[in-house]
């Protein structure tokens, strides 16, 4: 079996989990395996949705002890499920929880682990993963020696594919409690409406924005085209009041949107490390020699304070984002 650890938010399957499930289904078909979806929490209401993405079995570990996320408890639940089902491949989305729990579960299973992968395949019955390394300057193919193989899938990279599965429900025991660590509180930060790593369109601003207040024009463009606003480290560190959760790059978020619009960003390698996986890159910069243009599918050499408002206007005129 290929087992996918899934996350729910407000009773709905998270999109990165739907992507991991879709990829799991594809791998299961390619290798003649069953696909299982695993959920854990105080309530797993909404888990039935996994059948839409091809889950043959839906496993739920439900109970009050799992109400708050605990790394060790969740890792134990996942590893136990892998063993109980004799699964050989374990996938999770590379979300905050997925990246926290998957390596711990892997160690519990004496398994190799590939993190934040952008490609997966089955070779001779074993998982093989492709992942960007060295700030996106190289790609590593990871092969596994272990009996169980674990990987987390980078959000926004694997397409969501609906395919009906049997979705046979099965319940697992929740652990008794007394965990080594547990999440006590979630602090939402201003500016973090939608997670950048899940956004389809990102409008990012750099030092060329000159001031935090000027990010308003990026917000307006983002609103017009259905995007989210990000920033370079120079902008985040400038004391303009932008939270670190907006930062794209090596020491910020790694994003893979369909469209990334870089405004007043030079394209330093540490910034590129976070966004070179974008499908289409647009650069708006007054310096025709800025390195960002080497990456850009489309470029505009010009003053962003003139160009960005024109883009917002044009988006409205063309009716983009209104459908």
């Amino acid at each position: 079996m290929i087992l996918v650890f899934c996350e729910l938010k407000d009773g709905q399957l998270r999109k990165p989990s739907a992507e991991a499930l879709s990829e799991g289904r594809r791998l299961a078909d390619a290798s003649g395996k069953q696909l299982g979806a695993l959920f854990a929490g105080a309530s797993c209401a909404g888990s039935a949705e996994a059948a839409k993405f091809g889950a043959d079995a839906i496993l739920t570990a439900e109970g009050p002890t799992l109400a708050s996320y605990s790394s060790d408890a969740y890792a134990a639940v996942i590893a136990d499920a892998v063993k109980a089902k004799g699964a050989t491949v374990l996938l999770a989305a590379a979300t905050a929880v997925g990246k926290d729990v998957a390596p711990r579960a892997a160690a519990r299973l004496a398994a190799g682990y590939a993190s934040d992968v952008t490609g997966l395949s089955m070779v001779d019955g074993k998982l093989q993963a492709l992942r960007p390394v060295y700030a996106g300057k190289a790609f590593a193919t990871t092969s596994f020696a272990s009996a169980v193989q674990v990987a987390t899938t980078r959000p926004n990279v694997f397409p969501v594919a609906e395919k009906a599965g049997a979705g046979t429900a099965e319940t697992l025991a929740a652990p008794a409690g007394d965990f080594k660590s547990v999440v006590k509180e979630i602090l939402a930060k201003a500016g973090g409406k939608v997670d950048l790593s899940e956004a389809n369109v990102i409008v990012s601003g750099g030092r060329g924005m000159k001031d935090g207040a000027n990010f308003k024009i990026l917000e307006e463009l983002a609103d017009a085209i259905g995007g989210v606003v990000g920033a370079s480290r120079a902008a985040v560190d400038a004391g303009w009041g932008l939270p670190h959760s907006m930062q794209v790059g090596q020491t910020g978020k790694v994003v893979s949107p369909t469209l990334y619009i870089a405004c007043g960003i030079s394209g330093a390698i540490q910034h590129v490390a976070g966004m070179s996986g974008s499908k289409f890159i647009v650069a708006i910069n007054k310096d025709p020699e800025a390195p960002i243009f080497k990456l850009a599918n489309y470029g505009i050499v010009g003053d962003l304070f003139e160009v960005v408002p024109e883009l917002t206007k044009a988006a409205k005129a063309l009716g983009i984002g209104s459908n």
């Binding site: 790394s71 060790d72 905050a96 929880v97 990246k99 729990v101 390596p103 711990r104 160690a107 398994a111 190799g112 682990y113 590939a114 993190s115 934040d116 390394v133 060295y134 700030a135 996106g136 300057k137 190289a138 790609f139 590593a140 990871t142 092969s143 020696a145 272990s146 080594k180 660590s181 547990v182 999440v183 006590k184 979630i186 602090l187 939402a188 930060k189 973090g192 409406k193 939608v194 085209i225 670190h244 959760s245 090596q250 020491t251 369909t258 647009v282 243009f293 990456l295 599918n297 489309y298 470029g299 505009i300 010009g302 160009v307 024109e310 883009l311 206007k313 044009a314 005129a317 983009i320």
Partner: protein
């Protein structure tokens, strides 16, 4: 209180990446090696705890002789002692975790600090794997850490904002940018470090779970297109291209 800090030697991001003749590893020629930046936050946090409430800080790296540079630097910054676990070959995070776990298991560390990911390899795996192998608590991608009596409270970065994790010591904490502002080594520290020796141990045998089978350079991006004309014309041309060619909208 006893603190272990795991430090990894990594290629500087600015380094040109060339694939070695074996087709699966990095050609070390022209590579500039540095301490992984996240590990610097981990070390700084350990030194601050030492300065605050008192602690013994042990710096550790798994690697070849070259990794001694990282340890010398850690000693200069304030680590009390340094350990190099020597082994050959390029293992994966699971292998490194087993080696560090074998070393740390009976030494009574209250806290193990790591980077949240090793620059370049980016697996973000060693810390949580080590926590599991030692059977202790973990908190990853931590931007704020408070220690109580046998307990910890950590703020860790999540998708939109952060969350507070509480747990029992011993624990593995992995550092993120924002945890602190790492200091530079002082001349006094550098001189003092010269008198300290790096303990060299053979790493315990461990099996790898995964390995890099091919390392390749990414495909070139196709040459881009520049939009000409006045800002309004450029804006319109861009959105039309995104709509009709790229089919983004």
């Amino acid at each position: 209180m006893k603190i272990l800090v795991a430090l990894k030697q990594v290629p500087d991001t600015e380094s040109r990446i060339k694939v070695a003749a074996d087709g699966r590893s990095l050609d070390p020629a022209d590579v500039k090696w540095i301490t992984s930046p996240y590990d610097e936050y981990a070390l700084e946090e350990a030194i601050r705890i030492k300065e605050g409430k008192g602690a013994e800080v042990v710096a550790l790296s798994v690697g070849s002789d070259a990794a001694k540079d990282v340890l010398k630097n850690a000693l200069a910054l304030g680590a009390d002692s340094a350990v190099l676990l020597k082994g050959d070959g390029q293992g994966d995070a699971y292998q490194v975790a087993q080696m560090i776990a074998a070393y740390a298991k009976d030494k009574g560390f209250d806290l193990i600090l790591c980077g949240n990911k090793g620059l370049g390899g980016d697996n973000a795996a060693m810390g949580p794997m080590l926590a599991e192998l030692l059977g202790v608590a973990q908190a990853n991608v931590v931007v704020k850490l408070e220690l109580g009596d046998g307990t910890f409270k950590a703020e860790r970065e999540i998708e939109v904002g952060s969350e507070i994790v509480e747990g029992a010591l011993p624990a593995v904490i992995t550092a993120q940018k924002g945890l602190n502002e790492p200091r530079y080594a002082s001349l006094k520290g550098i001189m003092a470090a010269k008198k300290k020796t790096i303990e060299e141990l053979e790493a315990a045998p461990a099996t790898a779970g995964a390995q890099v089978s091919v390392l390749a350079l990414p495909p070139e991006r196709p040459a881009g297109r520049r939009m000409e004309g006045e800002p309004a014309a450029q804006a319109l041309a861009l959105l039309q291209a995104l709509k009709d060619e790229a089919k983004v909208f």
